[in-house]
Amino acid sequence: MSAPIGDPVAGRRERTLPKGADPDAPLLVVDGLTTHFDLDGATVHAVDDVSFTLRDGEALGLAGESGCGKTTTALSLVKLLPPNARIVSGSVRMFGVDLVPRSEDGLRRYRWREISIVFQGAMNALNPVRRVRDQIAEPIVQRLQLSEDEARSRAEALLERVGIPKARGSAYPHELSGGMRQRAMIAMALACDPAIVIGDEPTTALDVMVQAQVLELLEDLRAELGLSLILITHDLSVIAETCDRVLIMYAGRVAEEGPVRRVFALPRHPYTQMLLRAFPNIHAERRTLGVVRGSPPDLRTPPPGCRFHPRCPLAIEPCRETVPPETTFADAVRVACHLYPPGSDGTQVAVPIEQISAEPAGVAEPARAAEPAGPAGSPAAAGGGR
């Protein structure tokens, strides 16, 4: 049902690498990435010392609560940040080439052609006044220098591949259903045959049936094209279904990372344990859902030491003072927690069930909801004769 787009082989495809790229280097190595925002004079420590590796054909799930820095991390990879953000330190090496020190122009080669993004909320991420087919063809024309006609036929092939009939390509975004829009976004992300596709909550706004279809589509494409995937979501069940590895983030830092089955079967970090308890499992026995008490910290003034310690039922003395070091165990799981210091054997320190829902000890006063914001309207020119 599809027209071949890339060469469908497992592992690294035959592709033209960017200048300076090392064909033998790993696909993506992120080391110590730190991104800060300047907000009204204060500094928000959104991403702090995040490291991970992505291999060819691999799917990595980036999980965590809202505001934990997953989206910022992903956008930092191609420096797609707002003007008040800056990457303070760290490196992002793709094919061995560090993207962080590169200028906007130097980085452009990598955008979309090596790393593309499927944004959340396709209704807003698509230009409402241009036809869907043209938006997919746009990067093909602009970035790959193909002719308009060639680009259009490629775009239509892509649409067919994601399950949208060619005829619908001439539609505008508002004329498509939510699921079709999201699939169009996927088609658009594949337009330049990238090595990595980042999905930023690609199924969050969709209903369950459509969500399943879109995930299945991503899976098929990954197998067929040898894509690597970074899937950002707060929904652990999506990660369980689709990803090879999972990276759990909390308050801008890595909490735990490893093969999905392993981490979900034996969660080590207390946050991971509590997160998993909060998710209903249709196969497990009936139990009360755990609720992770408290809220994430204000990243303008993150707590010292481990950022999770105010909410952690197992917090010990070092947690308040020292940033926990990362320890990697034999089963390829990496944890950043004082309960698992370097040299320990990796036995899980389980959070007692009663403790999961209990009010954590020594937590700061829970943040109250902010006051209702001011009026949203804007006085347009009040006119008057002149």
Binding site: A46, G67, A85, E201, G252, L299, A367, G377, G384
Partner: protein, 318 residues
């Protein structure tokens, strides 16, 4: 989708309502000060307001044809820093007094405009249904009209209605007429804006809850909707003021001014009639003109700053 992180407020919220209002006021003042354009606007407005309140203190009583202090059409000199007009009146004197008249008309016209506009806007937004549709049709109608010409036609009608006496409550009748006429023709934009805001406030949950509890319409409007619309009303009123001054200026220029209570617009009109531009008599009309530009600019800047503060959507964006 936001690229920025979620920032929660660790400070505990103040407990009492007045404490909250004080905190809100302080935060507002803080944000206002950080906007230099708004500050500049405020300074200019205060300057002209001071002139407008007591012009005699600065330049003495308003000069008339009989009390003219200089020769005709004198260029600026030490005795007359802004020169004289074709009747020999000191232009500085006329301009400073013009501040009072222009600002006063602006203020009163703004009051009328905002009153009518807010009333119609809130009622339309809150009541909804057929009332809303009818009111909005009327509003759109007024938006399209060339209200300037309408004002010119309305003026003699209003004059008839208002009566023949030369003063009402200490203000000259012709000026009252101008105020009413501007008010009657400029309310449409305000009504639209306030209606939008009312609609969006109405959507918010707490209004529904109030209704469920059984609070009456007027009560809900007063207690829930009004406070959330007030900020917008103020920001809009400032911009309306700017527009009112421009409208008054133009109406006075084309002949609806009062030569015995000359606003800046009236001075410009008189200068034009006497052929000042063609004669090169720039000192007659450039000062009042500059004042108009400064005041309108000031209100526009302040209105923009207020809008910025009260419209957080536009803050901190990419």
């Amino acid at each position: 989708m936001t690229a920025g992180p979620v920032v929660s407020t660790p400070r505990p919220a103040p407990s009492s309502r007045t404490a909250r209002q004080v905190a809100r006021g302080r935060s507002f003042a803080h944000r206002f000060v950080r906007r230099p354009e708004g500050l500049l606007g405020l300074v200019i407005i205060v300057f002209f307001a001071v002139l407008a309140i007591a012009p005699e203190v600065f330049v003495g009583p308003l000069e008339t044809a009989t009390t003219a202090s200089g020769d005709r059409l004198e260029p600026p000199s030490l005795a007359h820093p802004l020169g004289t007009d074709n009747l020999g009146r000191d232009v500085l004197n006329l301009t400073v007094h013009g501040a009072r008249i222009s600002m006063m008309i602006g203020l009163l016209a703004t009051l009328v405009t905002v009153l009518v506009g807010v009333l119609l806007g809130i009622v339309a937004g809150f009541v909804g249904g057929r009332t809303d549709t009818i009111l909005m049709r009327i509003t759109d109608f007024f938006l399209v009209l060339p209200t300037f010409v309408l004002a010119i036609i309305l003026a003699p009608i209003v004059l008839e209605l208002v009566g023949g006496g030369s003063e009402i409550l200490g203000i000259r009748t012709t000026l009252i007429v101008i105020v009413v006429v501007i008010g009657l023709t400029s309310w449409a934009t305000t009504a639209r804006i306030i209606r939008s805001q009312t609609l969006s406030v109405k959507e918010r949950a707490f209004v529904d809850r109030a209704r469920v509890i059984g609070a009456g319409g007027w009560h809900t409007m007063r207690v829930h909707i009004l406070p959330n619309v007030t900020g917008l009303i103020v920001a809009n009123a400032v911009l309306v003021f700017a527009g009112a001054i421009l409208t008054e200026t133009t109406l006075a220029f084309i002949g609806l001014g009062d030569p015995f209570a000359p606003s800046w617009g009236q001075l410009l009109g008189a200068a034009q009639e006497a052929g000042a531009p063609g004669l090169g008599v720039w000192w007659w009309y450039v000062p009042p003109g500059a004042c108009i530009v400064l005041v309108v600019l000031a209100f526009t800047l302040m209105g923009g700053a207020l809008d910025d503060i009260l419209n957080p959507k536009a803050r901190g964006r990419r």
